[in-house]
């Protein structure tokens, strides 16, 4: 067991290193950061001096190893545009992204599970068909389009909800600011959370529907029915419980992608989280922010996968012996 976990951690580190290397090599093609840092009248000599002082004249591999050495000590350098430590900047934007991801995951589960159960139980009802066709739309439309559609419907036409920003935020200590404690903050999170969660909701709904259909055909449901248990307890206790195992796995994995791919939703709603910070960094060739963000994203995925792997081993002893032999 210990050997397995340490092997997985070593592999995770290799993955992080490779992600960092590839992303760093890609940054050479993003453009010249210096032009974004100075005005048009800055002389070529001044630009050159700046390039030198930023270490941009060094070979890419030298720059990369300098970066890795810093990253090992949790020093991700300083942002070119903000002149502040990248770790601080990302830390300050983290609450916004996490709250958005959390809200959208809750939305996806709270709606996806009941809809999945309903469509599984009532295969032929018109409501089920409607859910399924709406969910098809949810999957096939691109996120930014759904976001803009929501904005035009709920902000411009109906004027119910704000089209951008987080509303009023409250400071909780020095590390966290939350939008959940004010009315404007709660209103501001509704549209982006739905936009971001729509795809996951559809996924969960279809997964549960398929699992429900599967489980309802199994013997233990038939026996439960034969024993005369009421429908409610058959469906929601015996059937739903058995569908939840794959749902939990998928939800866990999807949580990582919600956090990582909040970029588009954040851009559409000007949500001041990490995603928009990353996008602004791309436009301004702010390499330290880009590198740290990509590392963080890789880290989230690696950690989630690691946990899932370990959980499988914990749950299923057969895997342990197989690994042991190999």
């Amino acid at each position: 067991m210990f050997g397995f976990i340490s092997r997985r951690i070593a592999m995770a580190l290799v993955v992080m290193f490779v992600v960092a290397l590839i992303s760093f090599l890609l940054f050479r093609f993003v453009g010249d950061p210096v032009n974004q840092m100075v005005g048009i009248e800055t002389t070529p000599e001044q630009r050159e001096a700046l390039r030198q002082s930023l270490g941009l004249n060094d070979p890419v591999l030298v720059q990369f190893f300098r970066y890795v050495m810093g990253a090992i000590q949790f020093d991700f350098g300083n942002s070119y545009q903000f002149k502040q430590p990248v770790a601080d900047l990302i830390g300050r934007r983290l609450p916004a992204t996490l709250e958005l991801s959390f809200a959208s995951a809750i939305f996806a589960l709270a709606l996806g599970i009941p809809m999945g159960v309903y469509t599984g139980l009532n295969r032929d009802s018109w409501l089920s068909k409607m859910f399924l066709s709406v969910s098809l739309v949810g999957i096939s439309l691109p996120t930014f389009f759904i976001g803009i559609l929501f904005i035009f419907l709920f902000s411009v036409t109906l004027q119910w909800l704000p089209s951008f920003g987080r509303g009023e935020v409250t400071e909780l200590g020095s590390f966290w600011d939350t939008g959940f404690l004010t009315i404007s903050g709660i209103k501001a999170i509704i549209l982006p959370a739905i936009t971001l969660g729509l795809y996951q909701m559809t996924l969960i709904m279809r997964l549960i529907r398929a699992e429900m259909l599967e489980v309802l055909r199994t013997d233990h449901i038939k026996f439960a029915r034969a024993r005369g248990l009421p429908n409610r307890s058959v469906y929601y206790i015996h059937a739903l419980k058995n569908t939840m195992v794959p749902v939990i796995t998928i939800t866990g994995l999807q949580l990582g992608s919600i956090i990582a791919f909040a970029i588009i939703t954040e851009t559409v709603f000007q949500w001041p989280g990490m995603g928009i910070l990353f996008l602004q960094a791309v436009q301004n060739v702010d390499i330290p922010i880009m590198a740290a963000y990509l590392l963080l994203t890789a880290f989230i995925f690696v950690v989630i996968n690691l946990i899932v792997d370990i959980l499988y081993v914990v749950i299923d002893p057969r895997l342990r012996t197989e690994r042991g032999r190999a």
């Binding site: 010249d32 005005g39 902000s155």
Partner: protein, 526 residues
Amino acid sequence: MRLKIASAALAMTLAAGTQANAETFKFAFQGTYNQLDPYSLNETFTLGMHGNVYEGLVRRSADLKIEPALAESWEVLEPTRWRFHLRKGVKFHNGNDFTADDVVFSADRVRAEGSDMTTRIAKDVKVVKVDDYTVDFILPGVNPILHSEWSTWYIMDKEWTEANNAVKVTSASDTNPNYASLNTNGTGPFKIATHEPGVKTTFTVNDGWWDNKVHNLTGVEFTPIGSDATRVAALLSGELDMAFPIPVQDIKRVDGNAGTTALTGPELRTIFLGFDQKRDELLHSNIKGKNPFKDVRVRKAFYQAIDVDAIKAKIMRGLSEPAALMISPFLFANSGDFSRYPYDPAASKKLLAEAGYGDGFEVSMDCPNDRYVNDEAICQATAAFLARVGIKVNLNAQPKAKYFAKVLASGGYDTSFYMLGWTPGSFDSYNVLLNLNNCRDDKGAGGPFNLGGYCNPKVDELTKKVLSENDEEKRNALISEAYTILNDEVSHIPLHQQGLAWGVSDKVTLKQRADNEFHFKYVVKN
């Protein structure tokens, strides 16, 4: 039915929360406001934002005329000695008095290493305090436009800057923001209350401002909104009082919406095309061994092949003004004497044939796609127009970060044919002649933004004369002479002045400046 009631109730509770504070003015711009240090970045939006908090010795009125600000008056004692009489009784936001010491200090700081604004005052100008409210500027040579860029040279408080350890300018390569880059202490009509770079900046009113205030605001809230669709939507929904820029294709919507209007006007920026005329062989062309752009007939053929009126009508939706010069007509008195070569594909083909390119040739064109209004679309149209006279243009449109890295001096002027836009920071032709049209070497000394390397010693000579001529009429004649040469030799192809489009709520009135700076002091909210 139940659903209906529920949604009505939801609508009511939600609507109750959206009552905005009547006098807080909310606006959005596409870019962010990062630095508060007024000498860190020489860029229009940033300087315009600083201008609400800081002031210079002079300022520009809404129609861009120089007028007194922190200096009440000035006189030229000798051709090389200017005396500025400072306004008395002006206080900084922290209560400190504004005096000559602050001017001398700011003059040193703006020229110091790390400043991005060193062009505001030349290194060899001496700044001398005469008494507490008089400052002399002693110049190495005559310069009639000494103060033309000073509306964005903001005066800082010496005492405050020193006390907060912010004497050194937060330079582009600094890794730690100094106090002045996150805090302000100006003399202007507004103070910064909170500043979260990239997220939000809020302003409060400076009640002790020396000038009569026009605005009736109690506060201002700025949010950057990068997505065009969201910015327009936020304006239409009434969450914003003003948003800019409005994409040209959305102008009709903003105008058609009850409660908002698109405020359009000409911008000072001139969009133009340029050719590599320096190398003996073009870097990106199928013509080998010679450079077709060295031949004025080829350059003129390109000029006459492009229909700027069609570009104006189809791409800019009317929001551009075809240009005959490399400077906005607002900024040069004799502009009326110049006109464009007519659009004439037949003449263009003839010129190409005379130059020996009757079968046309192939050339690559460099173009930004996120810098100017519809920049890529204009380049595509240009390529299409040139195709009609037999020129095959391989368009290389890319984000500005990539584009400028390639075509500027740092990229070795790696271009054969390009698009660029230019606004002279001094609002004066000298800047245009020097930066875009004077001979340069490969490192950029001479005319650093003359990407194509156009060179005519006569123009260089005229440029020098323009700098030191104090008599306005003679000076304008010299400028005209230079522009005539550039026009005859087709140094560049001026296309148009692009337009400004701001979206404004009908609840506010404000003034649009042609330099695209936005000043809250003109905003009146009903």
